[in-house]
Symmetry: C2
Subunit: 342 residues, 2 copies
DNA sequence: AATTTTCCCGCAAACGATTGCAGTAACTAT
DNA sequence: ATAGTTACTGCAATCGTTTGCGGGAAAATT
């Protein structure tokens, strides 16, 4: 389909002037006689001229665009961070291109390549589940393309990132469960190679250790965030000879599904089993019982990621910076057991 | 920050050949001696050459990109359709740029303009809540830029769209409530000027009419999908002298919040009030009671939207086509009242 | 040996803008 | 009247590719 777009040249010919004059007139540069300026404006209006961004970008070799890559658009956490990223970028005069990897390493590599070829000026990335080696990211650094990681990062990468203290957050959540009287604690985790999942498990372990509670490996199970996996994880926990009386789930996606599974088995929450989850999605409030969850600073996360990126883009400061934001445990019914005084 | 990218020219100079030869060699065109081809490949590899997509697009005046505009990335329905849109586009060799309007008309206009200036080859749009006149869309048609609307459309626009029969869907849901013994039916709707909301209300009315049930205007209330609005809508309904015994909500976002509000008031669902909602988000299963909801063909919707768009892009067929997809009522606990035989 | 064919490759224009520099006309100052 | 400004505008190169056309050398055909 041939879309007829008018160019600067057509305007120039129509008015019998040069393209440079038209260009300058349209952009409000000085040194243009008012009459010419008006004439140009008029004709541009009539022909509904729209500048070709591609040409513009090519000559200025600047796109004022940043690329954002997330595992899944569908996850409430990511779509929310995206909103704040876009907001912050827009304010700084940048637009964003959003891509998703569907947790696939190959797709991540592809998407990054595409964005780089399209000359985005920087990238904000949350790594895919399947990403276990980081050559593609290191290549970006070598090429001096600004990159910021958020949430799903890697310790191997010495690079700017904005994250939360997952270990501490999980520790606090577990501690809370212990203080509510839980003795046999379980943890429903994500994929085995996912750093943030492992960090949260670590925090879980730390809390057990501090309170001298035993750690049983079979009380920690891994899944892929899907409803099916998560419910299975919960069922398996129930089928153990000595089921847990407190569960930490490292994501609301897992938590909600697990809650569903437990309720299906007629287990009373929080009396039989208390629960704390991660992310504090709005739905936590809606469930019966409402779900205690660790709130992530979504707004800030997006804003800081953009800030870090812009700093790299504009100040050519390649010194990697890590911003660690605070989480907050929001206690609701699912963990509010009555605890006998002693 | 100056990112040093290698160009075709540098390769050419390094090898003492012309840029055209390099270009052809890299793209595997014929008429290139194997040795030159290899040499080019080698040097390109060494210098980590990445073609400049901007330049490419400019000369080919084709970007193989489509733009998608949705009101809010955060809505499960939209992010899900986006996934299937991206999938379908990718398969056809197109990439997608995703934008959100946050329900604002001005932003919609802006985003469209940007995308057009960036020379996307077509647009898939779900209109913003605040969009009440359609000059910006009509302009696209005048300029022969392929456009497809989905979900949030407008009757004023004679243009390709993929939608569902909202009237029929709401009718069936309401009929179901009536068949489960509801006599006083209410409807929690969205913004007043939102077509799909009004269509659903219309279907609601149609069912009342068919079954000779009275329609009270105060039983239909409008909100903006927010938790606060939706809960308020529900509370207002409860405060009526003669509260309803059946509620249709035109979106799960409203439905979940309403359910929460009703439960807060100690109302038994479905015994006191039965409920059916719209969209069949995965969470419907998780609630207590689980929520009956009308399932939208999300996958298909995305796929068909892309198909319609590609048809316009590639076949220059500007004949508007409307694809109406089937919904399905998924009955769960929230509407399963015991109904006495008679 | 002359002609044709095949194989490679380069020149230069094009895509649609921006921009440094130069040039002309009008206006001001001497 | 001449020199010096000032106000505008155009030329041409540039960004990094692609592509039609033409041409020379080698190989094949007569």
């Amino acid at each position: 389909m041939k879309t007829n777009t008018t160019t600067i040249k057509e305007i120039a010919i129509l008015l019998g002037i040069s393209t440079s004059t038209v260009s300058r007139a349209l952009r409000g540069l000085p040194d243009i006689k008012p009459e010419t300026r008006n004439a140009v404006a008029r004709v541009a209006q009539e022909l509904d001229y729209q500048p070709n961004q591609l040409a513009k970008n090519l000559v200025k070799s600047s796109t004022k665009t940043i690329g954002v890559i997330v595992p899944e658009l569908n996850f409430h956490f990511f779509s929310s961070v995206l909103i704040s990223i876009e907001e912050a970028a827009l304010q700084a005069g940048y637009s964003v291109i959003i891509c998703q990897t569907h947790e696939s390493y190959l797709r991540e590599v592809n998407q990054i390549e595409n964005l780089v070829n399209s000359r985005v000026e920087g990238l904000i990335i949350s790594l895919a589940r399947d990403t276990t080696h980081y050559g593609h990211i290191e290549k970006l650094i070598r090429k001096k393309i600004p990159v910021v990681l958020f949430d799903r990062h890697s310790e191997e990468l010495n690079i700017s990132k904005v994250i939360v203290d997952n270990i501490k957050a999980a520790f606090e959540a577990t501690e809370h469960l212990i203080q509510r009287g839980c003795k046999r604690l379980a943890c429903l985790a994500g994929p085995l190679n996912l750093l943030i999942s492992n960090e949260r498990v670590q925090g879980f372990k730390n809390a057990l250790e501090k309170y001298n509670l035993p750690f049983y490996p079979e009380y920690v199970s891994h899944g892929d965030f899907s409803k099916e996996h998560s419910m299975l994880q919960a069922f398996n926990l129930m089928n153990l000879p000595n089921p847990p009386d407190g569960i930490l789930t490292i994501s609301d996606r897992i938590g909600f599904a697990a809650l569903h599974a437990l309720k299906q088995r007629g287990i009373k929450i929080p009396e039989d089993i208390a629960m704390v989850s991660f992310n504090n999605e709005p739905f936590c409030n809606y469930f019966t019982p409402s779900v205690s969850s660790i709130s992530q600073p979504i707004q800030e996360m997006g804003k800081e990621a953009v800030n870090l990126l812009l700093k790299q883009i504009e100040n050519e400061s390649p010194i990697p910076e890590t911003i660690m934001l605070k989480t907050q445990l929001v206690v609701r019914e699912s963990s509010m057991r009555k605890v006998e005084e002693n």
